[in-house]
Amino acid sequence: MERDKQRQIVEALILASPEPIAAARLAEILPYGKRKRVIELVRELNDAYAAEGRAFEIWEVGGGYQVRTRPEYANYVKQLNRVSALRLSRAALETLALVAYRQPVTRAEIEGVRGVDPGPILRNLIDRKLVRIAGHRDVPGRPMLYATARRFLEVFGLNSLEDLPTLRDLEELAAEVDGAAAPVGEPAPEPEGVAAPSPAAEIADAPEPSGELH
């Protein structure tokens, strides 16, 4: 089968999938498809979109491909949806970060770091499907364990937990916290500056932790 045709089929499948679709699944459907070929084709699609200046690109999130609009159009698309974006307070983000990096983690462990009882925030994060209960720890009291849910990867555009930004080294931090080194105001960095965008073209080579979506 011609490569152009294959590329178009992959494009159609990604567009028509109700949720991020894994490379392995695409390879199943694509005639003469191999996972490796699918990854190549997706990269070609993204290259073409970029060359043509399209307003969207293919992302790889939570182990699957999804077409997403480029961030520069956010202000317009927001007006279309009228659904308030997922707003997360600083407390919610801190709790989420703790769950993400320390998972599976207990409520007491989160409280230990933040100095504040995370109960209500955890419940809220579970309601929003960002955090899930991942069983109990086998110690007296059998405390519940919290972990990030699949939705967390999708919302934050991560392909897997390994794509989380690395935690800062404590020594390095200590040097910075010391007085004058850090500005008081804590300027919020521009999203572009911080985010390692994960459109699939850039990370498609990364080994996928699991081929299946579920």
């Binding site: 999130v61 961030p71 974006a85 990096y101 933040r114 919302v155 500056g193």
Partner: protein, 281 residues
């Protein structure tokens, strides 16, 4: 709810008593005692490994006083930290020698606090970074097809053969109470006609019924054998009249699966079944 102390959203500025010559209190919202402490350390431009506990503790308490003046409830975790600071301060005042251990110098009483501050700082930063990531439905939007609606069983049905129907009847009979001959009482006669009407009535209430369901008498007792037989004959009769259809779902491989169900026949709405059944039977 999230931080009971300085509860307003971060960045909120609470103006102090405005009449006092430009006096305004800038009150930042803190996410807990550690957050507040880190702020004070920065403000004082001091070394985190050598925190002047007395000064920081004093400022910390001033802040709590300020909250009280503003009638904001100070959450218990802030008070706990105040106590911890006071404890560290007292330990620092003790002479390094002459203590019970007798060793040269015990560990720095501030060490544990410093470790907690750094650990918290680490996650505060991680949270900040997470917030900067392009987020779905805030910065980027997915082009998504809606999930196709689940196909109801009825759309993939097959008609049920007599054999399956008899099989189903057997399982109904198996669950019916055995009728001991000696105790047989002619309680009431159940007619096929009655059962036909009952099935049709039930199908007016629900789009479809499970086969086993129609054998249950309305009073919830286990069905009597005569009831089961009459009902089964009623079902056969209704099928013959095309008043109902009996079907079963198919699984993905095309194998009949799931319970056998009944549904009203195609033109049952406009027909007056009550009359027609009465005529026939």
């Amino acid at each position: 709810m999230e931080s009971r102390a300085a509860a307003p959203e971060s960045g909120v500025v609470i103006e102090g008593p405005g009449d006092e010559a430009g006096y305004a209190v800038k009150l930042q919202a803190f996410e807990g005692p550690l957050d507040l402490l880190l702020h004070l350390i920065r403000l004082n431009e001091v070394d985190i490994h050598d925190i002047p506990i007395a000064r920081i503790a004093e400022q910390y308490l001033e802040y709590l006083d300020l909250l009280r003046d503003l009638n904001i409830d100070v959450a218990s975790e802030y008070l706990l930290m105040a106590a911890t600071l006071a404890w560290i301060k007292s330990r620092m005042l003790l002479p390094p020698d002459g203590t019970e251990e007798g060793a040269e110098e015990g560990p720095d009483p501030r060490a544990e606090l410093v470790a907690r501050l750094l650990e918290y700082q680490r996650f505060r930063e991680a949270a900040h970074e997470l917030d900067g990531v392009w987020r779905l439905d805030r910065d980027v939007f997915a082009a998504q097809c809606p999930k196709p609606e689940a196909v109801p069983d009825a759309e993939r049905e097959i008609e049920v053969g007599l054999f399956e129907l008899v099989e189903a009847l057997r399982s109904v009979l198996a669950h019916a109470p055995a009728t001991g001959a000696a105790h047989e009482l002619a309680v009431e006669t159940i007619t096929v006609r009655e059962r036909m009407l009952a099935v049709m009535e039930a199908l007016e209430q629900a789009p479809s019924l499970e086969f086993l369901q129609i054998f249950e008498p309305p009073d919830g007792r286990p069905p009597h054998r005569s009831m089961i037989v009459a009902t089964f004959l009623a079902v056969l009769e209704l099928v013959r009249l095309a008043a109902i259809r009996v079907y079963q779902g198919l699984d993905a491989a095309g194998v009949p699966t799931g319970p056998i169900r009944l549904r009203a026949g195609a033109d049952v709405e406009d027909a007056n079944w009550r009359e027609r059944i009465s005529e026939l039977m």
